[in-house]
């Protein structure tokens, strides 16, 4: 007993204590990390797959709102493997994009793109047809714009209006224009969000800028004359 109190007061004790304490705590943490790791990765993958698949909702017969809502990892993974394949750009090995397959034929591309919003970098997926003529859809993945204003870019009507808009026509890129939210858009116009001009502009400009570079550098040969 006497020995113990002596050790507790010795100069070495605090060091020993900290080492033992941190060893125990770190061990438990490492263990829980290993336990949770798989789940975290699974979630990230599932989210990406769901986002990619929902871009082609109208083309995939197995996919409807109910399936998307249930978000079953097994089903999503199956659908993903059936319809999508990930690819890497030849000149940028770190850039991953996706190809949409319909009965084994390329029916569209999906590119991850980032746009500079008012407060944050907006990350989104853009789907385009194999000849780069028109957008098949966009999906905002993450953003940090003003809630209630800029953050309304995540509302469905805003994202859905890109579907079918022309990207490349004749021999030149088509520039999309922004008009007031309550207006009547024609084929080249996008309704912007009232009070959030910057966020709306950022998306249109970001998509066009990045896609034009991708087209010029990697896909200018896809045109079938």
């Amino acid at each position: 007993m006497k020995e113990k109190t002596n050790f507790l007061e010795s100069r070495l004790y605090p060091v020993v204590f900290m080492i033992i304490l941190s060893a125990i705590l770190t061990l438990i943490l490492a263990f829980s990390y290993q336990l949770s790791k798989g789940r975290v990765e699974m979630y990230q993958e599932l989210r990406l797959q769901t986002n990619l698949l929902s871009l082609f909702k109208s083309e995939i017969p197995e996919l409807n709102d109910k399936v998307i809502k249930e978000n079953n990892p097994v089903i999503m993974n199956e659908l993903y493997n059936k319809y999508l394949v990930s690819k890497i750009l030849a000149n940028r090995p770190d850039y991953q994009y996706y190809e949409f397959l319909d009965n084994g034929n390329t029916a569209g591309y999906v590119f991850p793109i980032s746009a500079k919003g008012l407060w944050s970098t907006i990350k989104l997926l853009v789907a385009i047809d194999p000849e780069f003529n028109q957008y098949l859809g966009i999906k905002i993945i993450s953003q940090g714009e003003t809630p209630g204003l800029g953050a309304r870019i995540t509302e469905n009507w805003f994202q859905e209006q890109f579907t079918g808009k022309v990207f490349y026509q004749g021999n030149s890129f088509n520039k999309l224009q922004l008009i007031e939210e309550n207006g009547n858009p024609n084929a080249d116009q996008i309704l912007q969000i009232t009070g959030a001009t910057v966020s709306s502009k950022a998306i249109v400009a970001g998509i066009q800028h990045d896609l034009e570079i991708l087209y010029n550098q990697n896909f200018s040969n896809v045109k079938v004359d």
Partner: protein, 195 residues
């Protein structure tokens, strides 16, 4: 899209002021801002520690934690780095410059618990900044914090003779002033983006 470090620096001061938009470092902000001199001392100390710990934490994160796959321990490791750095600085300042110690050194212990310091390191990781970007962000955030606490101290100095309603004296009125400052700083939004 890579963002220029200069842009990040200014954005961290004005458009995304760490205190006025991220609410970090409020505890010492409220308690120390009564006097201008001590606010200045604390602000400078925060700036200095912020820049240095961001740099160290960047190195620790990318050279040790990522290769060893122990990123999940970042909270513990960052806070140890910050505490150790503050301790070390305090000792060095005390030994080599007593004058500096009495003007700045006394604020150093307050800094370990200033969540703005840890916050900057965490934002650096979340936003995937490069080394230069991290330093610029740390410096900007530190200067922004200094600017905010100095302005507040000036206002509180002016407020000393006022008949502020009894229940609002101290924390209450300081929070309201901070709120109005945050309103004013919204004017800068859109000038530069942080990420």
């Amino acid at each position: 899209m890579e963002i220029n470090a200069v842009v990040i620096f200014f954005a961290a001061i004005f458009t995304s002021n760490i205190l006025l938009t991220n609410f970090l470092g409020m505890c010492s902000f409220l308690s120390v801002s009564k006097e201008v001199e001590s606010s200045f001392g604390l602000g400078v100390a925060v700036f200095f520690v912020m820049v240095c710990t961001t740099a160290i934490n960047y190195a620790v994160y990318h050279l040790i934690m990522v290769p060893l796959d122990i990123v999940y321990l970042q909270y513990i490791i960052f806070i140890i780095v910050i505490a150790a750095f503050v301790q070390l600085t305090e000792m060095l300042v005390e030994r080599f410059s007593p004058v500096l110690y009495y003007t700045l050194g006394i604020f150093l212990p307050l800094i370990t618990v200033n969540c703005a310091i840890l916050g900057v390191s965490l934002f650096m990781v979340i936003r995937n900044y490069s080394f230069i970007q991290s330093i610029a962000y740390g410096g900007g955030a530190g200067l922004g914090w200094l600017l905010a606490i100095l302005s507040l101290a000036g206002i509180r100095q002016k407020l000393k003779l006022n008949r502020v309603p009894a229940g609002l004296r101290g924390a209450g009125i300081t929070l309201i002033i901070t709120g109005i400052m945050a309103l004013a700083f919204i004017g800068f939004s859109g000038i530069a983006a942080i990420q």
